[in-house]
């Protein structure tokens, strides 16, 4: 019977390991091998090219990626931390409302967000032009583009990481610690730097690493805004477009090395003992702001933040109402109508991408749903050798930049392989759902693991004791209990799959082009209205999903990052 237990574990592990090897490990290895080939023969030439003078552009791109990421961390921290501190520590009219708004950037898929920024603050953007007209200037006073553009978009989309970690850390600090410091005679300033800040550090370090990784991988912002500016994730795309797969592989390997070392560093850092609060469950205490000037300063800050944060959403909505041809050379759009939305339902050409996106996201989600449950169950409830290794393997797709995931799949499946049942997947419908599946494995596994860890082992034993076989127990007891966690992870995966751009742009075909690709196409044709309408659809889907997970699964938006 001991053997029966082991057999069950093995039976669970076999599909998990096959999938991970086939679609995560094998593609990565294919990329690694490819990077050591020049015209089909083994050589180190790609690497010497990368770091050598022959293609200085690559090295420049790596360097740019790193320093943009560092600056993104800095900017996001400078916005996120003070905002979190003010919204969580002071009480003033509208506080709750502002703090809800503060995380709005996460409902914008990256491509859509960048697009909104482009039409808000870009060369032909609404804000610079409005200022120009109001002040009667001859030229637009400013416009974003290139590196500033990328940085501003990064700051906007990534500051929530800092905002959320700081907020939750602040709410977990036992107020009596600070009170003790005051009691011992420290002033406010000292208390912050000597007590509060050190307690926030672990969270902040984690957020910094996360933002760094995310901006290293960032694709949409440079794609739309970079101009001549080079970053590594984009270089991979260009190499691929130019047909230099070997160079694309080399670039992928280098970007992966940076990302994975950050993942390992992060694991190490989180495993280290940090100072957890001994006391729990004490709500944050907020100081009422009694000084009137200060109070209204804070309210104004809240309002200002709200406007800046919601302007992209509003712009998107307005632009989606601009029919084709109503905003070409004019400074402002000239007409508004629901035409773009109506076309969605009338013109099959326009509806197709929406359907494609939903179908492919759904397929990927079915996959991660099943795979996530099995993998998490094996990881949490079963004993076997090499568990740590499996855990790392599961997390790899999370550390890999989307562009690299895309490249890996191209290099693995542009020829028949056992894992594609002897077919070439590149250029078919199936490659994109597969890419989404791989991308979002970690998300579902993590949310499922969290609920499974909460579930006591004795629950399963109780069912067994009452006569239920393993599979019955799994179906009737385990799955219903963990369902909320699995579903919230899966729904989030769905949302992100619908908005996914980097892998889509590498792998799409004419027949399965998803919404993101169609947005790109419409932008190329300067059909801003239709592009925005697509964007609105994505935002709408995200909003619905978040509402469902909040309402029915009790998942807070904050926990979804």
């Amino acid at each position: 019977m001991l053997n029966a237990e082991k057999r069950k574990t093995l039976l669970l592990l076999i599909p998990v390991i096959l999938v991970l090897i086939g679609y995560v490990l094998y593609p990565s290895i294919e990329t690694l091998l490819e990077s050591f080939k020049k015209n089909g023969v083994f050589s180190l030439e790609n690497y010497s090219d990368f770091f050598g003078e022959k293609s200085a552009a690559n090295f420049e791109a790596l360097w740019n990626s790193v320093y943009i990421s560092l600056l993104s961390v800095l900017l996001s921290a400078l916005i996120g931390i003070p905002l979190a501190y003010i919204f969580n520590r002071y009480d003033f009219p509208g506080r709750q409302f502002f703090s809800n708004i503060a995380i709005m950037p996460i409902v914008l898929p990256s491509l859509v967000g960048v697009m909104a920024f482009m039409y808000l603050y870009g060369e032909a953007g609404l804000v610079p032009n409005a200022i120009k007209d109001v002040l009667n200037l001859s030229e637009v006073p400013f416009s974003i583009g290139g590196i500033t553009g990328i940085l501003i978009v990064h700051a906007y989309t990534m500051y929530p990481y800092f905002y959320m970690t700081t907020s939750s850390a602040l709410n977990n600090i036992d107020p009596s610690l600070e009170e003790a410091a005051y009691n011992l005679g420290s002033n406010k300033f000292k208390v912050f730097w000597k007590v509060t800040f050190p307690l926030l550090t672990p969270g902040l370090v984690a957020a910094s690493l996360l933002v760094f990784m995310v901006s290293m991988a960032s694709f949409s912002a440079p794609f739309l805004l970079a101009g001549g500016f080079r970053v590594l994730s984009l270089q991979i795309y260009f190499s691929k477009i130019n047909g230099d797969l070997e160079m694309a592989a080399t670039q992928s390997v280098i970007l992966s090395v940076v990302s994975i070392s950050f993942l390992l560093f992060m694991r190490w850092y989180q495993d280290r003992k940090d100072y957890r609060m001994a006391s729990k469950g004490i709500g944050a205490h907020r100081s009422e702001v009694s000084n009137h000037i200060l109070k209204w300063c804070m309210v104004s800050l809240g309002i200002l933040a709200m406007i800046v944060l919601l302007l992209p959403h509003a712009t998107l909505l307005i632009l989606s109402l601009v029919p084709e041809g109503a905003w070409t050379w004019q400074t402002y759009p000239t007409a508004f109508s629901l035409e773009n939305f109506i076309l969605l339902f009338e013109d099959p050409n326009i509806w197709d991408p929406v359907r494609n996106s939903m179908v492919m996201a759904l397929l990927a989600c079915l996959g991660v749903f099943v795979f996530g449950i099995i993998t998490s169950y094996a990881l949490v409830k079963r004993k076997f050798i090499g568990k740590n290794l499996l855990d790392i393997l599961v997390m790899i797709p999370w550390a890999l930049p989307a562009t690299v995931v895309g490249m890996n799949l191209i290099l693995a499946f542009n020829e028949p392989s056992a894992f594609s049942f002897g077919k070439i997947l590149v250029g078919t419908f199936w490659i994109l759902p597969l890419a989404y599946f791989v991308r979002f494995i970690p998300l579902v596994v993590r949310s499922t693991t969290a609920v499974l860890e909460q579930m006591d082992d004795s629950i399963e034993e109780a069912a067994q004791n009452l006569g239920a076989k393993w599979f019955y127990t799994f179906r009737r007891v385990v799955i219903p209990i963990i369902m909320p966690g699995v579903l919230s992870g899966t729904l989030l995966a769905f949302v992100q799959a619908v908005g996914e751009f980097p892998t889509s742009v590498l792998l799409y075909t004419l027949d399965n082009r998803p919404i993101s690709i169609e947005i790109m196409n419409q932008l190329r044709m300067f059909n801003i209205g239709q592009a925005s309408a697509y964007g609105m659809i994505q935002v709408g889907l995200i909003a619905i999903v978040m509402f469902i997970s909040y309402k029915f699964l009790g998942v807070k938006t904050e926990n979804t990052l």
């Binding site: 019977m1 004795s458 034993e461 109780a462 004791n465 009452l466 006569g467 239920a468 019955y472």
Partner: protein, 365 residues
């Protein structure tokens, strides 16, 4: 209903031996308790009976049927877990019906049996509640009902009362006993609370460090412990090292170094435990058997001492008396009013009655 026979059971987790060479026979319909300090292997033994662990060595039989490696779902035992392990996504009814559903009992039968058992544990009006909306005691009763409704051959309870407050604990003790007697079901109960074990059990097995020290009825365990571990773990006792000197008439004489005196003990089975030649010996005397008096006492084993501490606990009074430089003895008397309390420093006579002393060997580790 079954007998349970554990023969020469050993369970190892890696290097740790959790249970060693255990032999126990539990009779049909018996209320049998595993008692012992934390980490002594009680849960491990219970789980081997339930089938969650398989013994490294030895055999588990129910009614002469070998169950050693039968999976838990085929053993027909009903287990109540320490944390209740109720299914959080089901109602009270669904929880209790789970085992019946697995056994493919018809809907109407299930409904009837669940209703009956819920009535028995006085939870019939909570049938449709979600289990998270129940109090600790109510959850406890759902767990009990869930285990009983399948009419198990053996009922297994792992410290089922340890999460409850003192009053509820008392109430649930009676409840469990009542149900056990009603169903006449063989029951194995794990606890480290000796009062619980003594009041509830037909027989008790005392564990220490993976070994069963003694099996017996509560009175046997209390009055005739087989070694110093059992004597000390169950109730309070005074332990003083002694050595055998000689046998006279119906008495054995032991020498006590600490008191520098001889001690007479009745040479009966009740007063002298089995021991080997080279065992270290101790005498154990319960505080309530020690007689103290300011006036002189007659008879055997009378010593002079000085009162060093008097503790008042309500129903009884503990008096600590120093008999010699390294022998302190404790006496417990029922509270008979302030006039009877002794004061620190007073000289008293102490008698250790020859028929109340028990000579026991030191437990072999």
């Amino acid at each position: 209903m079954s007998t349970v026979n554990l023969s020469a059971i050993t369970k190892q987790f890696g290097d740790v031996t959790a249970v060693e060479e255990l032999d126990i026979l539990i009779k049909e319909g018996e209320f049998f308790t595993f008692l012992g300090p934390s980490g002594c292997g009680k849960t491990t033994t219970l789980r081997m009976i339930a089938g969650f662990y398989y013994p490294t060595k030895g055999k588990v039989t129910f009614n002469d049927k070998d169950m050693t490696t039968v999976p838990p779902e085929k053993r027909n035992t009903g287990m109540v877990f320490q944390n209740y392990a109720l299914f959080p996504h089901m109602t009270v009814f669904e929880n209790v019906a789970f085992g019946l559903k697995v056994r493919k009992i018809t809907k109407s039968q299930t409904k009837k049996r669940v209703e009956d058992i819920l009535k028995k544990v006085r939870l019939d009006q909570y049938m449709d509640r979600q289990v998270s909306q129940l109090s600790g005691g109510q959850q406890q009763r759902v767990a009990l009902a869930r285990a009983l409704v399948i009419e198990p051959d053996i009922l297994l309870l792992d410290e089922p009362l340890s999460n409850l407050d003192a009053r509820l604990r008392d109430e649930m003790r009676n409840e469990i006993l009542r149900l056990q007697r009603d169903y006449g079901i063989t029951t194995i109960y794990v606890t480290h609370d000796q009062a619980e074990a003594l009041t509830m059990s037909d027989r008790i097995a005392v564990f220490n460090m993976g070994k069963c020290q003694q099996v017996g009825t509560p009175t046997e365990i209390y009055n005739q412990p087989v070694n110093d571990f059992v004597a000390e773990f169950i109730g309070e006792t005074n332990l003083i090292p002694i050595a055998f000197k000689e046998e006279k008439n119906n008495e054995k004489i032991y020498h006590c170094e600490q008191l520098d005196a001889d001690i007479q003990v009745q040479a009966t089975e009740v007063n002298i435990a089995e021991y080997n030649r080279n065992d270290q010996l101790l005498m154990s005397i319960r505080p309530e058997s020690v007689q103290i008096d300011k006036a002189s006492l007659t008879g055997e084993n009378v010593f002079k001492g000085e009162v060093i501490l008097v503790q008042f606990t309500g129903a009884s009074v503990h008096t600590y008396i120093k008999l010699s430089s390294d022998a302190i003895i404790r006496a417990t008397d029922l509270n008979e009013g302030p006039s009877t309390y002794l004061t620190n420093g007073s000289k008293v006579n102490v008698k250790l009655p020859a028929d109340q002393i028990r000579v026991i060997p030191k437990a072999r580790m």
